[in-house]
């Protein structure tokens, strides 16, 4: 009774399923982004408009995985996944790894926006901005994506609809408010920090550390959400 398939094979299968299900969505998003950039180009190239589009496209990848969790809960496919002979950590790992795969793509767009907008502001070559920004954007957007997955996995759809999805925003604004009271405007602090020699390294370390903490908490939420999952009686059937 104790013989089981290896976690690696299980995570691989789930990861394949996750990537397969987003293929069309990713293509549509990329197509939409290309069309939007085309429209901007035709209307006369405006770097801030292109940057805005790139950030919007990039951020759309952050929420994609959490939307799939909600869809799985509504369609009843979460019951299917949670009933497979796989451990909750394996299922959670596959979800989170798939989310990081998507944010790796989304981070390209946000990094491109950084490469367009930031060099004149920071007086730094675009290539340097891009090289530093990409891993930071990917890591932090993965953390945000994992957190949304954790919340949607751990809490019921009805509860999420009322307060659950507000939690990250309340926490974010709360942290910014406290930061503002303690150290002053976050934007000013960051600008000052970047201007110093060791500033970028400190900023990067802070981003990586806080993202890692968020990811650890989010993974735990996801794992527990799968382990405790009980279908909601009013879920929609396909």
């Amino acid at each position: 009774m104790n013989r089981l398939i290896s976690p690696r094979r299980i995570v691989g299968s789930l990861l394949g399923l996750e990537f397969r299900r987003v293929r069309k969505q990713v293509l549509h998003t990329l197509g939409g982004a290309l069309a939007a950039v085309g429209v901007v180009a035709l209307a006369g190239f405006d770097s801030s408009a292109v940057g805005f589009i790139a950030v919007a496209v990039g951020l759309s990848f952050v929420g994609m995985s959490a939307m799939h969790v909600l869809k799985d809960k509504l369609d009843g496919t979460m019951e299917f996944l949670a009933g497979l002979p796989a451990t909750p950590p394996s299922l959670a790992l596959a979800r989170c790894a798939a989310a990081s795969g998507l944010t790796a793509l989304g981070a390209i767009f946000v990094t491109a926006a950084c490469g367009i907008v930031l060099p004149p502001l920071l007086d730094t070559p675009a290539l340097r901005v891009v090289i530093v920004a990409y891993p930071l954007v990917w890591f932090s957007s993965s953390a945000a994506s994992w957190l949304l997955i954790g919340l949607t996995m751990r809490y019921t759809v009805t509860r999420l609809a009322s307060i659950g999805l507000l939690v990250p925003f309340v926490v974010l604004f709360g942290v910014l408010w406290v930061f503002d009271r303690l150290f002053g405007s976050p934007l000013d602090v960051v600008t000052d920090l970047v201007a110093r020699d060791s500033g970028p390294a400190i900023l990067a370390s802070a981003i990586l550390l806080s993202s890692a903490l968020v990811m650890a908490a989010a993974f735990r939420l996801t794992r527990d959400g799968i382990a405790r999952y009980r279908p909601e009686p009013d879920k929609v059937d396909w």
Partner: protein, 234 residues
Amino acid sequence: MRDLRVEYPNFTLGPLSLDLHPGERVALVGANGAGKSTLLKAMAGRMNDYRGTVTVGGTEVRSNLPAIRASIGFLPERLLGYGWLTVGEHLRFLSNFYPTWDDAHAADLAERLQLPLLSRVGTLSKGMAVKLSLVAAEAFRPPVLVLDEPTSSIDPVMRGELLQVINESAPAGGKRLVLYSTHILEDVERFADRVVLLRDGRLVADMSAADVDARDPATPMSRKLYTLLRSTDE
């Protein structure tokens, strides 16, 4: 299972105790909402927020859910899976999770039940969906089969095909335990050698099919079960 109790906002199953043994073919009979599906899910390791203990092969179900699930073939009340996968892809996906999955057996069953391997799961009729669930539950030759209303809402021809496959998979006198719920009393007569009656979440009768039959040999078993169900209502 010992003192099994599951609580929902408007319904409570149990507390109830039940001993099931290898080789038995047990019909769980009761009206809609009697708690049959809940009991089967607890038994098949598909829920873990119950009180009491459910033990399969000496292992408490909650202590090792993945291993329990890999040893129990479960046919849920409605087909679970991704509607955009084809039938073949659905089975291939599942094969990655069960160490004893037998591809040849799965292909044989699918052919026998005339499953359209290239059709999308979400487009299957109710009968085809049940057939697919049966193939998924049986393809890894589990020692325990738990079937939740496998023959409800499907036409008599498909019902006959399904019962025949189940009958051949777990023949009388074999080693496999089959626990299946139904409210179609004729199916009990065709398949079960033990009958457990549930009403409003409580176990109201547990007897061998032979005992039910002996009550009045001239009356069909389905009629006797109907009378039994009515009498437990009173």
